[in-house]
């Protein structure tokens, strides 16, 4: 029989492990705290109404973040509105409807791999597919086909060019795998007994999904959505490739407007030679955090509203 370790050794090991975990957590928290503190110290004084509503300028004290902020909101809103329904629907199909065939296995593996692809690759894809539409309509701006009036919110031009719609679609590609995988995990976590119960009562597969499985999976889906949107709002590489601008004269007016986004603006300000631009870069980072919390807040709100007890 193996020797039973004394109670004190076991308690010591227990305490050591706890200390290790606490140390790991506090290191992460400390780094985050230092980062936030540095940003707030540098950027807090720069935050003002003028900064929020100001346009780009060569002078740091006159420069504002308005167009980049509105651009980020537009692009992320388009991205979220497209990626969430598409991603959830794909996950529902794969988890609840599709037979486990060789085809679905290939699709599944592909989605897993796509989640790890660097975002700049999606930028190149977005540039070819959305902005230029494979050159099928010519590359000259004058060759573009216009649909609807330019005053309308839903004015369309084909190809899309480097517009907010093309930007939103590109970011959608970036986060789609994340949304799909998170939704699949959430659906798998729903107890099989719930589905079985619904089927036993004669519900169709559709009724089961819509009435039972999806509502039960909403918390998990929303957590995935938060992570995905956080990624989308911080992306700059794919939008840079797409031809996202930095200087724009105003907020987007329709789906075909040119746009700037916060991460691009922050990077540009931070790499300027003048110290004063570094300070407003910090202010813009604070703003970016606020927008992030705003999006997350919406997701948490939806989660609370839709969450139903499983019993």
């Amino acid at each position: 029989m193996a020797a039973v370790r004394s109670a004190s050794t076991r308690l010591l090991a227990n305490r050591a492990f706890l200390t290790l975990c606490l140390a790991a957590t506090s290191i992460a928290m400390l780094v985050l705290a230092i980062l936030l503190l540095a940003i707030f110290v540098q950027g807090w004084s720069g935050l003002s109404w003028d900064f929020l509503t100001g346009l780009p300028s060569r002078k740091a004290d006159k420069a504002g973040v308005f167009v980049a902020l509105m651009g980020s909101l537009w692009v992320c809103a388009i991205c979220g509105l497209l990626a969430l329904p598409l991603g959830v629907a794909t996950a529902v199909f794969l988890e609840e409807f599709a037979q486990k065939t060789r085809f679905t296995r290939i699709v599944q593996t592909n989605i897993m791999n796509l989640a790890g692809v660097p975002s700049i690759v999606y930028g190149i894809l977005g540039l070819t597919a959305f902005a230029r539409m494979f050159g099928a309509f010519g590359t000259n701006v004058e060759d573009a086909i216009s649909l609807g009036s330019e005053e309308s919110l839903f004015f369309l031009r084909i190809p899309f060019g480097s517009s907010v719609l093309a930007g939103g679609l590109t970011l959608m590609l970036v986060i789609l795998p994340v949304v799909i995988i998170a939704t699949q995990e959430a659906l798998r976590a729903v107890p099989g007994s719930l589905r079985a119960g619904a089927f036993a009562l004669g519900a169709t597969r559709w009724q089961t999904v819509w009435g039972i499985t999806l509502p039960a999976a909403v918390p998990g889906i929303m957590t995935g959505a938060i992570l995905a949107m956080s990624r989308a709002i911080g992306e700059s590489a794919p939008l840079l490739v797409l031809g996202g601008a930095l200087f724009v004269s105003g907020a987007p007016e329709n789906l075909m407007s040119d746009f700037a986004v916060l991460p691009l603006q922050i990077y540009n300000w931070a790499s300027r030679p003048q110290e004063s631009f570094h300070a407003i870069a910090a202010s813009a980072i604070i703003l970016q955090l606020v927008v992030l919390f705003l999006f997350n807040g919406i997701a948490v709100f939806i989660r609370q509203k839709l969450q139903k007890p499983l019993q």
């Binding site: 780009p56 590359t139 000259n140 031809g243 200087f247 540009n268 790499s271 003048q274």
Partner: protein, 334 residues
Amino acid sequence: MHVSKPLTAISAIALFTSAAMLAAGPAPQSAKDLKGAIKIDGSSTVYPITEAVAEEFRTEAPKVRPTVGVSGTGGGFKRFSAGEIDISNASRPIKKSESDAATKAGVEYIELPVAFDGLTIVVNPKNTWCTSLTVEQIKKIYSASGGVKSWKDVNPEWPDKPVKVYSPGTDSGTFDYFREVTVGKDGSVRADMSVSEDDNVLVRGVSGDEGAIGFFGCAYYFENKDKVKSVAIDGGKGPVAVSTDSIENGTYAPFSRPLFVYINKKSADRPEVDAFVDFYLANAGKLVGDVGYVKLPDAVYAKVTKNWDARRTGTQFTTPSGDSVQGPLATVYE
């Protein structure tokens, strides 16, 4: 019914004015009424200048919407050659391959230098021995075959301290220009450099390392004079220190490099683009100083404006066979 006297007078005036306007035909379009979008993309080095011009142009023509991107000189030319954008910002002249692509797509371009950037060679402030370098010495430090490990290898009188080499990203126009004037187009640069896309990182690197040497645009040097020390350049006529004057008058050779905008000739026919470029050339000299660059000599601006007005197309910096034209801007540019 009575109509009060002043009102009658006003309506009479209104009637007359509208009649006069009808007679005169449509009034000549002023910049205030211009509309439309101008698409600009390209170098992030040139971006601050174009941003400054676009910012001031807002009061001149509030309804025109210029958008300026920063996809880099190469990225900008790729879009420009395809006819996607109206204006391309460039920190180096257009390459033969880019020019050929434009011709193939039916894009003619007008080449306009707008400012100087002076590449500044900097060392750590604690480095007291190195106050000037010849182009030959810089070449020896940066080239792969130079084999410089210590400052003593550059000049036997200097201390035996290790040289730490810093450089901007090898994709940047800044690096391209530096390589061409030092190790040459086909020469290879040493592999053990610390490279960063962000010039502020280079400033920090050089300021924290006694044996460091690096280079970047003069805007970063002018802002960080307390952190790094500039080295005078000896191009054969004695050492010349970097300053706005030596860059502008061309004595800071060969490291004062011109920055360009390229205009799509077809876009230049649009009144809003025409007005924007007119405004650009008229105000560049006043605005480039604000963003840390150096204005061109007035005589060069005059040539640039003349070429713009004449819509002179093509590049003056590449020979038909594809070789780049070297030399100071004031003598090369016609």
